[in-house]
Subunit: 148 residues, 2 copies
DNA sequence: TGTGAAAAGTTAAGAGA
DNA sequence: TCTCTTAACTTTTCACA
């Protein structure tokens, strides 16, 4: 990928609503050249979409936790992600190389909701869980990709 | 927060570049009413920004890992996040209630870079680390906030 | 909080190098 | 792959309910 494309991606990571005109000013390209390049980045799957970033606290979800998930029965077919997909509190789901099989990141309003959520996770996927509560978030979503 | 605001936030989580005109059509509001509401959501800090979402693989960072961080010397002043802030590979930094003090999510190009990164983390913050490699990501960034 | 209207700015698509 | 052009659309601001 070209340097110009990298710069466009970097700018759009910082401000996903930046206009093609401003992207052009920042890169020295014409508006339509920017437009074409961004469209190509989208088509190639480098840019997969655009999203508002919201404050979970402001939306009433101040409590985050990381949950390690281990299947009870290792002989079960491993369809844990599918079994958990409908649970909207689970923001991220990683399959990992560790003592656990999966690590989930969840957000809820308060401790009672976390208790309830854990019960739903355990019964939906037939797993045991180990939960680590997040006390504070020095930063999040800083796009390591920005370093590219 | 009102139901209309929730719907606007939900729509902008899904498509952060949606026009005010289209947001108006989706909510039944006039363009300028949408504009005012979105501006207020931004001012109140509910919407904190907009970002392109990119594929880390397409950017050449296919290897993710979760790193548990524990200070060597518990009597040290705890400024681990500040000491790590300059390391751009660290996408998320959580302070947690567990045997470890922090959990980091990082992205790198290949195993060698992970080795190098761990050395930099340990020496920058005077910590020990325990690393869990991510094998696959069934989903990520699904905005639990969408459930609001 | 909302509306509608008008000016200023942006996007999208095509022709041409 | 770039620029330029032009029509269609979107944003922004304002007066007013």
């Amino acid at each position: 990928m070209e340097d110009l494309d990298r710069r466009l991606v970097g700018l759009l990571l910082q401000d996903g609503r930046m206009s093609y005109t401003d992207l052009g000013k920042a890169t020295g390209l014409s508006t339509s050249a920017v437009h074409q390049r961004v469209r190509r980045l989208e088509e190639r799957g480098v840019i997969t979409g655009y999203a508002a970033t919201v404050s979970p606290e402001a939306l009433g979800l101040p409590l985050s936790a990381l949950i390690s998930v281990t299947p009870f029965d290792p002989s079960d077919p491993d369809d844990v992600p599918q079994r958990l997909a409908h649970i909207t509190e689970i923001e991220d789901c990683y399959s990992v190389a560790g003592v656990e099989s999966y690590i989930l990141k969840v957000r809820v309003a308060m401790p009672g909701n976390l208790e309830d959520l854990l019960a739903r996770i355990r019964s939906a996927a037939n797993v045991s869980t180990r939960t680590t509560v997040v006390l504070s978030t020095p930063w999040e979503g800083r796009s390591a990709s920005a370093s590219v």
